[in-house]
């Protein structure tokens, strides 16, 4: 059976089941505010901190490997650096959708990854940089004050994966030396940023987890939990409209893989897979070997049918991502690649519908009168 037909049947049959459970939850009484607190506490103080540690460690490994490589450039060692880039990027893509607190403070999310870059700012600035080779960009402290487009993962991706730059790096010529120093500065800067992120998270988590009427930031636990629900919802929206929607364009002729995220390193759909891991953790409460299954927003769902259906749908979409190549460029090169990407976007859109109608409705975190329909 073609993939597109099978997922539709699975999702639609689940949707029918969900409709039954959603009808029954309409009459549900307000969830007591205290019921939101365990999920908040679990996600913010138990699940996220170890992941931020992992992220910081991964950028530390990346800094070390690029430093080692630059001491004695060699094609095999470059592969190690690229592998460490992928490891750091994997964990970043899982953390990325948790857009809140220290992650967005001081423009951190943009400094870690300036994307989407609608006007091609990074590529333009990168070309100029390589031409003029300013020494300030090889100093991580000065780099931290530079354009966000030149200081995070996309810039490092250019250094490590662009064919021309790889050539310079392995030859160790003048451009290669600059690229090495610049790449090391980027990795070091990322290590600094992820260290700040790790250090600032506990205070933020404490403020969210101890929400109460005296707080000017989070007056109720439900209000604090709304930020987690929004992260789940918006994370899916960003996958649909930007990570998949941008390369898809208006139609097949307009499709362009270069508009996808991380296509220089050929990992745009690998990013989506890791986004889904980080997003499911918000719902489930378990993230890899961290956390407890069912202790996230799922703890607010009192219908086992809805919970099972949602998980089944999520797994179906995750499988669909993993069945495809890691690169949208590779996918679009296939004869049915465009349609395959369209189908994938449709599946993400269906997940968005489930989150809005069922998870948002059942957890009562979906938004209020003015938030949902203001003017």
């Amino acid at each position: 059976m073609p993939l597109s037909s099978s997922w539709r049947i699975t999702l639609l049959s689940t949707a029918a089941a969900l409709a039954v459970s959603f009808t029954s939850q309409n009459a549900q009484a307000d969830i007591p505010d205290e019921n939101y607190r365990p999920a908040l506490d679990h996600l913010l103080t138990k699940v996220m901190p170890p992941k931020l540690d992992d992220f910081h460690d991964a950028t530390g490994d990346l800094t070390k490997s690029i430093t080692d490589f630059c001491a004695s450039p060699d094609a095999d060692d470059l592969k190690d650096v690229q592998e460490d880039f992928h490891n750091a990027m994997d964990i970043w893509q899982e953390i990325q959708p948790w857009r809140m607190g220290p992650l967005v403070a001081k423009g951190r999310d943009q400094h870690i990854e300036y994307w989407p870059d609608k006007h091609g700012t990074a590529a333009r600035q990168f070309r100029k940089l390589l031409f003029s080779k300013p020494a300030s960009y090889t100093d991580p402290v000065q780099l931290a004050e530079a354009s966000a487009a030149l200081q995070g993962f996309p810039a490092l991706e250019e250094v490590l994966f662009d064919d021309s730059n790889i050539d310079h790096l392995t030859k160790g010529d003048e451009d290669g030396v600059f690229l090495c120093q610049y790449g090391t500065a980027i990795a070091t800067n990322l290590q600094t940023i992820t260290g700040e992120l790790r250090d600032e998270w506990p205070e933020f988590a404490e403020a969210m987890a101890t929400a109460g009427p005296d707080s000017m930031d989070y007056p109720t636990a439900k209000f604090a939990a709304t930020d987690l629900y929004r992260a789940l919802h918006e994370g899916l929206l960003i996958i649909s409209t930007q990570k998949l929607g941008r390369p898809l364009g208006e139609n097949e002729k307009d499709a362009k893989a270069s508009r996808a995220e991380s296509e220089v390193s050929k990992r745009s759909l690998r990013n989506v897979a890791h986004n889904l891991t980080g997003l499911l953790a918000i719902y489930d409460g378990k993230w890899g070997d961290v956390g407890t299954e069912g202790a996230g927003l799922a703890s607010l769902i009192d219908s086992s049918l809805l919970d099972r259906s949602f998980r089944l749908n999520w797994q179906t979409v995750t499988d669909a991502v993993l069945e495809r190549p890691e690169s949208i460029d590779t996918l679009l090169a296939q004869s049915d690649g465009y349609q395959s990407l369209v189908d994938l976007k449709s599946q993400i859109d269906f997940l968005i519908t489930l989150v809005e109608n069922d998870i948002g409705g059942t957890t009562q975190l979906g938004g209020g009168f003015n938030a949902l329909d203001g003017d």
Partner: protein, 379 residues
């Protein structure tokens, strides 16, 4: 941010301990004084698609509820008169003139077939004319209609708003000019009247027209990169400064300003909150209000559940106060103090200077979902 607030407190004369504060500020964010007999009025909704204009007192006690045929939006207050104008939100067909003390209907306004009301209305200072923003949907053109309150609310004129999708409008100081927020969104009743049909080409602006002739006096837009910032709500300080709140029609993670300050004749100055507040504004501002002193303005962000406060003199961000689903904002008579309402039914007294939020003590107002805008009627 802390530094900005500290500087602002100095300017406001609030540098010392709480006990040394001027009495009127020390009272802020506490239970309202008995003499505060102000009335707050707003569109509201029940739980079953039932809509009202409702009024409550400074304690939050409901004074009246007047049923509406459809969802309202803002309320226009006729100076020195009992009339208030409740115009249906876009795409609106009705307008009701109500008695501010009882909610009784005193007159009805009907939108022409080829127009739709857009929820906002304002009276001239002498109370004679009522101005309403409307959509001339077949021509994707905004208009301001003029209704003569002394002639049975007869529609007597119509001016160009000099933009598409006009929304909130206000009188400028002096009362002879109107400033209009043209949101830039083209909608048509054939497509539900609310769905934007021109996201890619929208061109919002702020326009000032002569209220007698409709002649354009000033106009300003944001730079083209920000053309998807729909300029929807505004308020005007006594010195003519206009504060505006935007609603972004682009991506949820685009980095765009959501607040602008305009001195007519100059460019709109976009201003931003610190990143960790800016992202919580969720690309959407719901209402804008200057405080009694004109030194602070508040901008509500219902999607983020925040009210942000800004220094009108320096245009710096001051602080924010969480307000779940909060949107309606009205200035009290105390500097830096506002009453805010929520779609979840809450009503708060909020002090931007001391960063305090206190629930209105009477629970009767909690039975309603409070809509976008709140107006204060001075006792």
């Amino acid at each position: 941010m802390r530094h900005q607030r500290r500087e602002f407190l100095k300017l406001m004369g609030v540098g010392g301990a709480f006990t040394l504060l001027p009495l009127n500020i020390a009272r802020a964010a506490s239970t309202p004084a008995i003499e505060d007999r102000a009335v707050y009025i707003s569109a509201s909704a029940g739980d079953a698609d039932d809509f009202y204009v409702s009024a409550f007192n400074a304690s939050g006690k409901i004074l009246f509820e007047q049923a509406l045929p459809g969802r309202g939006h803002d309320i226009g207050l006729r100076p020195n008169h009992v009339d208030v104008a409740a115009v249906e939100r876009r795409p609106g067909l009705y307008g009701l003139i109500l008695d501010r003390h009882t909610g009784d209907v005193r007159a009805k306004l009907h939108c022409p077939e080829d127009r739709r009301f857009y929820g906002h209305a304002i009276y001239s200072n002498d109370g004679r004319f009522l101005y309403i923003t409307e959509n001339d949907f077949d021509h994707a053109r905004g208009v301001v209609s003029v209704w003569d309150a002394e002639d049975g609310y007869r529609r007597v004129a119509e001016f160009d708003s000099f933009g598409t999708g006009p929304h909130e409008l206000h009188l400028m100081p002096g009362g002879e000019q109107l400033v209009i927020a043209n949101g830039g969104l083209h909608t048509h009743p054939d497509f539900d009247g609310r769905t934007a049909l021109n996201i890619d080409s929208m061109e919002p602006n702020l326009s000032i027209i002569d209220r007698h002739t409709g002649k354009l006096i000033h106009q300003a837009s944001l730079k083209h990169d920000w053309h998807q910032l729909s300029i929807r709500h505004l308020d005007v300080a006594a010195n003519g400064t206009i504060a505006a709140g935007f609603q972004y029609q682009g991506e949820i993670n685009d980095q765009v300003p959501l607040v602008g300050v305009w001195q007519p004749g100059k460019e709109i100055r976009p201003i931003e909150a610190p990143d960790n507040v800016q992202y919580r504004m969720r690309q959407y501002c719901g209402s804008v209000r200057f405080d009694a002193s004109g030194q602070v303005f508040g901008i509500s962000c219902p999607r983020g559940g925040l009210v942000t406060f800004w220094d009108a003199k320096t245009n710096d961000f001051l602080t924010h106060i969480a307000a779940p689903d909060g949107c309606g904002l009205a200035a009290t008579d105390r500097p830096g103090e506002f009453v805010g309402t929520s779609g979840l039914g809450n009503g708060w007294r909020m002090d931007a200077i001391r960063r305090k939020r206190v629930e209105l003590p009477d629970d009767s107002h909690k039975s309603l979902h409070w809509d976008n805008h709140l107006r204060r009627i001075t006792a």
